[in-house]
């Protein structure tokens, strides 16, 4: 009796395994569907509630903004067709695109824009997007398709800030009727929402009444796969058409395959080791410059990041508006030693370096290399590696309680504007815990210039101001300027027509599949 039962269950198991083998194998994704694999899942479909990139990349397909970044990082019209700013720089007038409808059929017009801005700025809703609109005091609909934004002070970066994927427009009807847009998004974008199973997949389909060119592929599926190697495997088996953040160790192998392509694209994310300018020997600018000369950034970019990074000669990335080439601090250990000796530390000193581990591309390996290179000029580094949440809070303390001498910090402005980089990381009002200036850097002239540039609405004048500002910060060296990262995507050779931007957003409207 018992033996029979065992035989039966063994038989069942075998059937189960074989049944699976006969079933649909790895194979390819459907011809009318783009499968996009990212490392994490969407946090919220309410664009005003999340400023993070993975959600941003999905919301970018569902919602639209007044203006958007182009592939080079400049500003292009989207829901606004043209705009003008008043001579006093405080009133912005946007002409809106006509014949645009939300996925629920609601027409897009000036009133819809007004309702959305009102929502973003409502303090009771506690929405992070409000921070990007710091200067906006009033939004009114001047006519059915004309919107006027008023700012308290002239606010130069407004246009770039409006390209942020969070400043997107939700159907006013959905908002009025209390639709939970965090789970049931209603936008004007080329794709509309179909379904979402958290940590599994988001399914979108083409919006038939889209005002622009219809997406070539009818469906788009975004999958969340945290493990990099698994993402590579999915690309190899054809279960994914595009995967984000391809592990660098897989790149060479995949490049040898004819059915796959590796897309490497410039990225506006820069990585720094913020130097605590309020502590001991680090108060001396010569010491901070010495640290910059002592680190071989070229070698780190080549050997550790395998060429998927560029050595920076500026505070902001090359793609960022306002970029100005300045001091490069090329590797020069003897100059570093001379500067240390001149500052009174010929035998170096000891510092504590706080870093994340596994947050940014090769972050641990990078700081370990820095540790070795700084030891070469006599500066002993004690490493303190942490995971993200612990790192964030333990490096965001007031200066008198700060524990770090150096802290790894990376910033890629989703607005692609220097103002975002400089004001939140190098202005003295952003000292922790108020902000992200983990260098506790203060230069009154720099502070003033950042604010002056912010108050300049003429972009060519503003760019010139950053051209003066950036060399000042580079000279003061409040950070070891490590590298500018690149984005690495794996794409099936049969998939084409994708658009890449200097922020981690990929345009899929033109995506097509060749057979």
């Amino acid at each position: 009796m018992r033996t029979r039962r065992w035989t039966v269950s063994l038989g069942l198991m075998t059937a189960l395994v074989l049944g699976g083998l006969v079933g649909p194998g790895a194979g390819q994704t459907p011809a009318d569907t783009l499968v996009f694999v990212q490392g994490a899942d969407v946090v919220s479909f309410d664009p005003h509630r999340t400023v993070e990139l993975v959600s941003g990349n999905v919301n970018d397909k569902i919602y639209e903004r007044l203006v958007v970044l182009d592939e080079k990082g400049g500003v292009q019209p989207r829901l606004a067709t043209q705009w003008a700013v008043s001579p006093d720089g405080r009133t912005w007038t946007f002409e809106l695109r006509r014949n645009v409808v939300f996925h629920d059929g609601t027409p897009f017009n000036a009133e819809a824009v007004r309702v959305n801005f009102e929502r973003m700025l409502d303090p009771g809703l506690r929405l992070p997007t409000a921070v990007l609109l710091g200067g906006v005091s009033r939004v009114r609909a001047a006519s059915s398709h004309t919107v006027v934004l008023e700012t308290r002070e002239p606010f130069g970066p407004l246009l770039y800030n409006l390209t942020h994927y969070s400043i997107a427009f939700i159907s006013p009807r959905a908002l009025r009727e209390g639709v939970d847009v965090a789970r049931q998004p209603v936008g004007t974008g080329p794709y509309r929402f179909v379904s979402w199973i958290p940590k599994e997949a988001v399914v979108l389909e083409a919006h038939p009444r889209y005002w622009g060119e219809q997406p070539t592929l009818r469906r788009a599926i975004f999958r969340a796969v945290p493990d990099g190697t698994t993402r590579t495997v999915m690309l190899e088996t054809g279960e994914a058409d595009i995967v984000a953040n391809l592990p660098v160790q897989d790149v060479d192998r995949l490049r040898r395959r004819a059915d796959l392509q590796v897309v490497v694209h410039p990225f506006n994310r820069v990585v720094w080791l913020m130097i605590n300018t309020q502590r001991g020997p680090l108060r001396d600018v010569r010491i901070r410059q010495a640290l910059n000369y002592a680190v071989n950034k070229q070698a780190i970019a080549r050997a550790i990041l395998r060429g998927f990074a560029e050595v920076p000669c500026s505070v902001v990335a090359r793609a960022t508006f306002g970029y100005a080439k300045s001091e490069c601090y090329s590797y020069n250990p003897s100059k570093a030693k001379a500067l240390l000796a001149e500052a009174g530390y010929p035998n170096g000193f000891e510092v504590r370096l706080f870093s994340t581990s596994g947050r940014y591309l090769m972050d641990r390996e990078t700081v370990e290399a820095v540790q070795g290179q700084l030891a070469g000029v006599g500066v002993q580094v004690r490493l303190n590696l942490m995971e993200w949440a612990a790192f964030l809070s333990s490096t965001r303390r007031p200066p008198d309680q700060a524990e770090h001498d150096l802290a790894l910090w990376a910033f890629g402005p989703a607005t692609n504007d220097s103002d975002f980089v400089l004001a939140t990381n190098f202005h003295s009002s952003a000292w922790p815990p108020a902000g992200n200036n983990r260098a506790y850097y203060r230069n009154e002239q720099v502070d003033q210039l950042i604010m002056e540039a912010r108050a300049t609405v003429d972009d060519s004048k503003r760019k010139a101001m950053y051209g003066r500002l950036i060399p000042m910060i580079m000279h003061d060296a409040p950070a070891i300027f490590l590298h500018e990262l690149k984005q690495i995507y794996g794409v099936r050779a049969s998939t084409g027509g994708l658009t890449f931007y200097p922020i981690e957003i990929v345009g899929i409207t033109g995506a097509r599949k060749m057979r």
Binding site: G20, P24, P226, R396, A434
Partner: protein, 312 residues
């Protein structure tokens, strides 16, 4: 029978105490670990103390920890696990489907582990010191010592990439369940087969087996009627514990195969310091663990006539 009911009732009462203790422990531990859910939510781009303070207030995170705990327990009693700080979704709503996914994976995995483990173990015991036995030992050593994620990657590489037989990751039909279940079962197969072998050998040496053989029973019948039923108890304990381990410890397998289960939910929530999600998930795993142990104890009573008599 009454004694059994009383036993179950007493154990269930203890369960509530255990869960209360567990929830307090998790609650305090989460708050001792450095990190702030609000900072993680707002990320790198937004650092605004006023906004952070307002968010903290609205979530009650500005209250003393014990007040927060009391309010939490008060809500749990009404069945409300709260909302995720990050996604604002109801914890219970997200927890249940993920727990079912993990349960599905663990059940299939356990079936595989029991079938393979018991067969291998019994075979090794019956054919002691033969090639079978040695191969079994080697296989179980491998199953125990090879890291689960490595086994998973190896399976993906051979079965999915090279042979193109099964999809590599994600959730879907049965074909997506096989590789993760196989991976998750590997250490359990090893453990169960070893315990089965030892337990069977122990029974082999008993006098009643000798008697059974002496009275001329066929070897198969000796195996099925006398050895298996007597050797099964220690194996049952291991199987019960392994099931608990699979439910709680499938994190690595779930990560490698992008299986949307409880393990991944917990790890992501810990990384994000999403307190309500971690608390809810740990509470659920704890409850399942305790109930599983109780079930194993009850199966004991059902399987072992000696225990049945004393329970009666």
């Amino acid at each position: 029978m009454i004694r059994v009911v009383e036993f179950v009732a007493r154990r269930l009462a203890a369960t509530i105490l255990v869960l209360l203790g567990l929830s307090l422990l998790v609650f305090l531990m989460l708050r001792l670990v450095p990190g702030d859910p609000i900072q993680v939510y707002l990320g790198v781009e937004v650092a605004d103390p006023t906004l952070e303070q307002r968010l903290r207030q609205s979530l009650g995170l500005d209250r003393p920890v014990l007040v927060q705990y009391a309010r939490y327990v008060g809500r749990i009693v009404t069945g409300d696990l709260g909302r995720s700080i990050l996604t604002q979704r109801r914890v219970g709503e997200d927890l249940l489907p993920k727990a079912l996914n993990t349960a599905q994976l663990a059940t299939v995995s356990l079936m595989m582990a029991v079938t393979a483990g018991l067969s291998l173990g019994t075979l090794a015991a019956a054919r002691r010191f033969t090639l079978w036995d040695h191969v079994g030992l080697l296989a179980s050593l491998a199953g125990i010592s090879l890291p689960v994620f490595w086994i998973g990657l190896l399976l993906q590489w051979t079965v999915s990439v090279q042979l193109g037989l099964l999809p590599s990751a994600g959730k879907g039909g049965l074909e997506r369940l096989i590789l993760p279940a196989l991976t998750l079962s590997a250490p359990s197969v090893a453990l169960i087969s070893r315990v089965a072998r030892a337990s069977m050998l122990e029974v082999f040496r008993q006098d009643y087996i000798r008697v059974a053989r002496a009275k001329g029973l066929a070897e198969r019948r000796v195996m099925v009627r006398h050895i298996l039923p007597n050797g099964i108890l220690p194996i049952l304990t291991v199987v019960g514990l392994q099931f608990g381990y699979m439910l709680a410890g499938a994190v690595l397998t779930e990560t490698v195969f992008a299986w949307p289960g409880l393990g991944r939910l917990i790890v992501d929530a810990i990384k994000d310091r999403d307190y309500p999600v971690v608390q809810g998930a740990v509470l659920l795993v704890g409850a399942v663990f305790v109930l599983l142990n109780l079930t194993v104890d009850l199966i004991y009573v059902a399987v072992d006539p000696r225990l049945r008599r004393s329970a009666r």
